[in-house]
Symmetry: C2
Subunit: 150 residues, 2 copies
DNA sequence: GTAAGTGCAAAAACTTTGCATAAGT
DNA sequence: ACTTATGCAAAGTTTTTGCACTTAC
């Protein structure tokens, strides 16, 4: 265990030039405990430990964190934005079209070849995000059950 | 030129079991003319030819089309949903983090290897969508200009 | 002490829904 | 004729903003 191991949220907030407050730490801890949470879910979780917190403060905090690269924002089709603390590795997401479940997947290819679009149209590309869409095991099972009973 | 060439919107609507109305055709034509348009932009365009159209009708139409696979919906981070008529090929998108510009890119790899996540967690994966995020040429130029004048 | 963060409240932005009328098949 | 789509209006949900007060630095 050296000083290079996982910096704490306090350290990362300071490094980003953001002040350290109990609300912000509560938000970040809630996201660690429940990845892919929506603003509403983060609010519900943090309200248990910090009762005075408000939903607007959550939105502001999450927005600040995204802007400073402490967390990542996901925009699933047709549902509220979700947030996650895994920002360092380039991992991707499986999303269920039925129930909206989100699961992390590591990049299929070792390095980051997805980082090279065939033609970049003059863009300076920073990241490539891959979203696999389909049906999750639970929803598959439910669909099978419906067919079987018909 | 055979009967297999690009089916018209009228044919595709009928094939999907949807009725053919001037409003729907206006919406689809507007999307053809202006890919990646938001509901608001589609409304502005269609209102020029069909003045009696309303924004709600646009939302309903777009929702119906997405449900029947006639168009695709994109959910860029922090901005309203956008729609496109290119559904057959698996192409991807470049998005500018500064101005929100969206540009189509063909799949980097010939086939569809992006269709295979390293571990599918039991999902039945249907499609893989790749979003390259970065800065578009215009915003890069603007940033350079700011630096130069400082 | 100063700048940044927060609670509170209000509003903006985006999208969906219900019902009577009109239009497509 | 029957069913589906539309206009109109209203509401729902998610997110942003303004201002006074508090807190971290």
């Amino acid at each position: 265990m050296t000083a290079h191991d996982a910096p704490t949220w306090t350290e990362r907030l300071r490094a980003a030039g953001l002040r350290v407050t109990s609300r912000r730490l509560a938000v970040l801890d809630a996201l660690d405990a429940h990845p892919h949470a929506s603003a509403d879910e983060v609010y519900a979780r943090t309200a248990q430990t910090v009762p005075s917190i408000t939903k607007q403060a959550i939105y502001v905090s999450l927005g600040d964190f995204v802007e400073h690269g402490l967390i990542r924002r996901l925009d699933p089709p047709g549902s509220p934005a979700r947030y996650e603390t895994r920002t360092e590795d380039n991992h991707h997401h499986l999303i269920c079209d039925e129930c909206g479940a989100i699961v992390d997947v590591d990049c299929a290819v070792g390095e980051a070849p997805c980082l090279a679009p065939s033609h970049d149209a003059g863009f300076s590309v920073r990241v490539a995000e891959v979203t696999y869409r389909g049906t999750c095991p639970e929803c598959l099972a439910r669909a099978d059950a419906l067919v079987a009973q018909s």
